[in-house]
């Protein structure tokens, strides 16, 4: 609904992805050659993070992202993140990529739900941005890209009214509807129940701008208070805390959107398989419109040639290779992401799939214009 949702969705999911990858890269025992020193591994990790962040904040890419547009389907967005995760020498198997995406989305869903005010989603975004900035603090070229993005966020969102932020939040909640994947770290911290639903406390500070519930005031026609009544609010609320900063620098106050992972807290997910039929299940092929938008967006994502697999290294989001294989086989159908496989190399099969999708949307009265549009789109895909 809101045409300003995509940048926030992308930046926050991207931020969560970086937290998780950073943790896995630190934790993973990369089988190093005896000849290679420990320092090389550290350098690799930083290189992976820098490569991904550079791609995320690519100027052309962000330009497309910040244009007013509807939210992509889950499938389309997953495709973008697949590409992003492979913007470095790091390689992820399907099962690990699925798990990564599950964690990213459940984390951001949690943050959106728990935000006291819709406007606080911006503070969550700034928390992610602050952390990203910290990841690349030693690389000035990427740092300047990140700084520019702060400006874009402030420009786009600072002037929005409360209702417009709520519309963004509602749009995000529709995107996350019916996702109840259980995440170990959330279960352990008791912020998620065993049925996959998040705990919404009826205690704690009220949002900034809200009063603690409990007071009824009645007035005369002249405006004088005539009576006051108290009622039990059924919760345990306290007064609001100070407001976080919406500037480039500042204390965001909220902890939502900060890095909750650390090397000693491994992340596992359990598939609950209870997602009901929702919007994205029915109309399956990407609408022509969406495919166009996706192509434009992907045009900005420069991809590393995957040819030389020796120089890349694989990251596993599970504890063992066997677990990863098992996860792929046993993933419930209804939780499959159905990613569109758009490959960087000229691939006959991928082209055929795309042609077929484009063909399904050729409008009957529309002769040559649509077919040439289709060709242009395919040509652009080929170039990726």
């Amino acid at each position: 609904m809101s045409s300003r949702t995509l940048p926030l969705l992308f930046i926050n999911l991207g931020g969560e992805m970086l937290y998780i990858l950073d943790q896995r890269l630190r934790a993973q025992n990369i089988p190093a050659d005896k000849a290679k020193k420990v320092g090389w591994i550290e350098e690799d990790r930083r290189r992976v993070m820098n490569d991904i962040i550079t791609t995320m904040f690519n100027k052309k890419f962000l330009e497309e992202l910040f244009k007013p547009q509807e939210l992509y389907s889950k499938k389309a967005l997953r495709t973008v993140f697949d590409r992003l995760a492979h913007a470095s020498i790091m390689r992820l198997n399907q099962a690990s990529m699925d798990k990564l995406y599950d964690l990213m989305t459940m984390a951001f869903k949690y943050q959106v739900l728990l935000c006291p005010r819709p406007k606080d989603i911006l503070l969550v975004s700034f928390n992610h941005m602050d952390a990203i900035k910290d990841f690349v603090k030693d690389t000035p070229s990427i740092l300047s890209q990140v700084d520019e993005t702060y400006q874009q966020l402030i420009e786009m969102y600072s002037s929005l009214c409360s209702g417009e932020f709520q519309l963004i939040r509602q749009t995000l909640l529709i995107f996350f509807q019916d996702m109840h994947i259980r995440v170990s770290i959330f279960l352990k911290d008791k912020v998620q129940n065993s049925n996959g639903r998040f705990v919404l406390p009826t205690s704690g500070p009220v949002p900034h701008g809200t009063q603690v519930p409990g007071l009824i005031r009645m007035f005369s026609c002249a405006g004088e208070e005539t009576n006051r009544l108290q009622f039990t609010n059924g919760g345990n609320y306290t007064a609001a805390v100070r407001e976080g900063s919406f500037e480039i620098f500042g204390d965001r106050v909220t902890k939502l959107g900060t890095n909750m992972y650390s090397v000693s807290r491994p992340v596992e997910t359990h598939m609950s398989g209870t997602s009901k039929n929702s919007v994205n299940a029915a109309p399956n092929p990407l609408a022509k419109e969406e495919l166009n938008l996706l192509a434009k967006l992907m045009g900005g994502l420069e991809v590393q040639k995957p040819g030389n697999t020796d120089s890349g290294f694989r990251v596993n989001l599970f504890s063992t290779d066997e677990e990863e294989e098992e996860a792929l086989i046993s993933r419930p159908d209804e939780l499959a992401y159905g990613v569109i496989n758009i490959q960087a190399t000229k691939d006959q099969q991928a082209n055929a799939e795309l042609t077929k999708i484009m063909g399904e949307f050729t409008e009957s009265g529309d002769q040559s214009p649509s077919s040439s549009k289709g060709d242009d789109l395919l040509a652009m895909m080929d170039g990726l």
């Binding site: 009214c161 509602q170 009645m218 609010n233 919007v279 609408a287 419109e289």
Partner: protein, 336 residues
């Protein structure tokens, strides 16, 4: 005061949208219809009063053509007119009007949507039946579309467009007391918290404009000339519609209010918010002193749920129903 009854299961979960529950009581057939929005679909349930029969129906939002992305529904509400009952569904693309059982679509009005998306989203939201033959629907631009509805058939026409609000319409309500003496027929609310009070007719007349305080008013009701408004701050305010005099202010909820409802015969008020709480209040109007008393009666907590819809199931407030984000059920409560 109230106890929980057996819930009604729905095909999909409810989306986080304001006023996301429509209820229509059909006494002659001993049935109640419920309507809940899930993304681009409206889930309708027809429940028999003996609790034995439930039938389900799904309505899709109308797409102008296959190639465009799905149109999300913003609200579904029953409109009760003297001659007929209708179901109105508002979405990003326009307004659909159905027979109250959802069986036939009798009217479609397309919103003017730009070719490429603009900064400000386009959608319809805020639905109310007004007086004898009008259905009013709000638009994200702030406009209010007034439709003239014949006593039967599909010859619904756009009678007027009211341009008073400059921010997106959030909710609208008509005078529900049934009293012929009230001057004001309709109140409309917007994202800035501004309230407009109208008198219906061939040309609607603006009676009063109550300015907001920079906080969205997400739900509004009009009863015996009193506007009851719920805000994003969790506050409820009661105003005298025609004069704008503030009668009462309630620090009602700890989060954004999503739904208000009034049981016109008893003066019970229902409020529901993102804070998981549904509260029942009593409004007492004293015309002699032109004052309103608000008393708090009851709380219900729907654990770990952000409530998005709450409505009384009858004019006395004997029973009410609740929907919540990600919940695939309509929870019901009845007076003990």
């Amino acid at each position: 005061m109230y106890h929980k009854e057996k819930s009604i299961q729905t095909k999909n979960s409810a989306s986080a949208l304001y006023n996301n529950l429509g209820v229509l009581r059909i006494a002659p057939r001993r049935l109640t219809y419920f309507a809940v929005v899930h993304a681009n679909v409206v889930n309708m349930v027809s429940a028999s009063w003996d609790g034995l029969d439930y039938s389900h129906r799904q309505l899709q939002s109308k797409e102008p053509n296959v190639a465009t992305s799905t149109s999300l529904v913003t609200q579904a509400a029953f409109c009760v007119l003297p001659s007929r009952d209708l179901l109105v569904v508002t979405s990003q693309k326009g307004i659909q009007i159905y027979e109250s059982d959802g069986s036939i679509m009798v009217y479609w009005h397309a919103l003017e949507t730009p070719d490429t998306p603009t900064d400000k989203a386009v959608f319809a939201r805020g639905i109310s039946a007004v007086w004898e033959s009008y259905i009013c629907v709000g638009v994200s631009s702030g406009s209010i579309l007034v439709f003239d509805v014949p006593s039967k058939g599909s010859n619904i026409t756009l009678s007027e467009v009211l341009e008073e609000h400059t921010e997106s319409i959030t909710d609208m309500a008509s005078e529900c007391s049934g009293s012929q003496e009230c001057i004001a027929d309709l109140v409309s609310a917007d994202d800035g918290g501004n309230l407009c009070v109208w008198k219906s007719g061939e040309e609607f007349q603006l009676l009063n404009k109550i300015h907001g305080f920079d906080m969205s008013c997400s739900s509004v009701k009009l009863w015996k000339g009193t506007v009851v408004a719920g805000y994003g701050t969790g506050q409820i305010r009661l105003y005298e519609a025609v004069t704008g005099i503030l009668h009462a202010e309630v620090n009602a909820h700890a989060r954004w209010i999503y739904s208000l409802d009034i049981a016109p015969f008893s003066g019970l008020l229902l409020s529901a918010a993102e804070d998981s709480l549904v509260r029942v209040w009593h409004l007492n109007l004293t015309p002699e002193s032109n004052s309103v008393e608000v008393a708090h009666l009851h709380n219900e907590c729907v654990t770990d749920t952000q409530i998005c819809g709450a409505k009384f199931c009858d004019s006395d407030g004997y029973a009410f129903a609740v929907t919540g984000y990600d919940l695939s059920e309509i929870i019901r409560y009845t007076q003990s």
